[in-house]
Symmetry: C2
């Protein structure tokens, strides 16, 4: 981890490196850049969370809408952002059985219809059966609660991605 490097790269490189800490949201990294210098990983992470928390509800829903569908077509086709591809594959979501795939697709569709955004969860910490049970539980929650839950997952995913990037910063920066 080399925060000196993080603090000294120009904003183009900063956005390139951290542009997918929040999925498909280079704006988050580009905004966080205004807060440098950063003291450490936690400090950097805190500013990403602050960016999300400061958005109006529509913006927070927007953060979720920029996420791919869990175990969706993009995953099968390999067209996800590299980080998502790795995370969803690690959770065994790339090749679920036919029944499991149908169940996940149905839950995803129900989520989009009920909440207006997709399920977001920390795929790399779960396995496909746990994912399906968790989605069933969350589907019954009130929308405001599911929004909070999903944004909490976004922040955890962001923390894991930041840790990956800073562990490998010499190669990337």
């Amino acid at each position: 981890m080399n925060m000196e490097k993080v603090n000294s790269v120009d904003f183009g490189d900063f956005v390139e490196v951290f542009g997918n800490v929040i999925e498909r949201c280079p704006l988050a990294a580009a905004a966080v850049r205004s807060q440098r210098p950063f003291s450490d990983l936690e400090d950097l992470e805190k500013h990403f969370c602050t960016f999300i928390d400061a958005l109006p509800r529509s913006g927070q829903e927007g953060i979720l809408r920029c996420h791919p569908h869990l175990a969706g077509r993009e995953l099968q086709r390999g067209t996800l952002a590299a980080e998502s591809q790795r995370e969803q594959s690690a959770a065994g979501l790339q090749n679920p059985g036919t029944d499991e795939r149908r169940r996940l697709a149905k839950l995803n569709a129900q989520c989009r219809a009920r909440f207006g955004f997709p399920f977001v969860l920390v795929a790399r910490l779960r396995d496909p059966a746990v994912v399906a049970r968790e989605l069933e539980r969350r589907l019954r929650c009130p929308p405001a609660q599911e929004l909070r839950t999903a944004l909490g997952e976004v922040k955890t995913i962001g923390r894991l991605r930041l840790a990956d990037l800073l562990g490998a910063d010499c190669a990337r920066l």
Copy 2:
């Protein structure tokens, strides 16, 4: 223009179609989606402007940092987003003379150093000589004024892109 179609597509398609109305900022489209139904182009445009205006200053600076450099390497290499490529080429910025290129590169660097974000301007409305003169003028403005000016340009670019998209909506949606 067919607002019925705009109002009825699912959020994945909505973000895909309008994801670059604000350069490299699918989040803006994903957030605006919460405000549907939209009555017309002006209504849709108003919500994009509201999204930008509601961001804290760091977020507004972030919007600008997601823009490519005017007449920069990405333009020469053809790796810009399609909209930017078209707009900058139309302004004659793709193949400026050597002196003009040097002058624009110097002005861009001065802007990044002074303001912490790149110049953004409605390239398709200008020619290279006018661009350079305009950048020289803006470089002397106070940072808060340049932020306002640049965001005004972002909004104009967004309006032009929306008009293009809605004029061609049958092909895209």
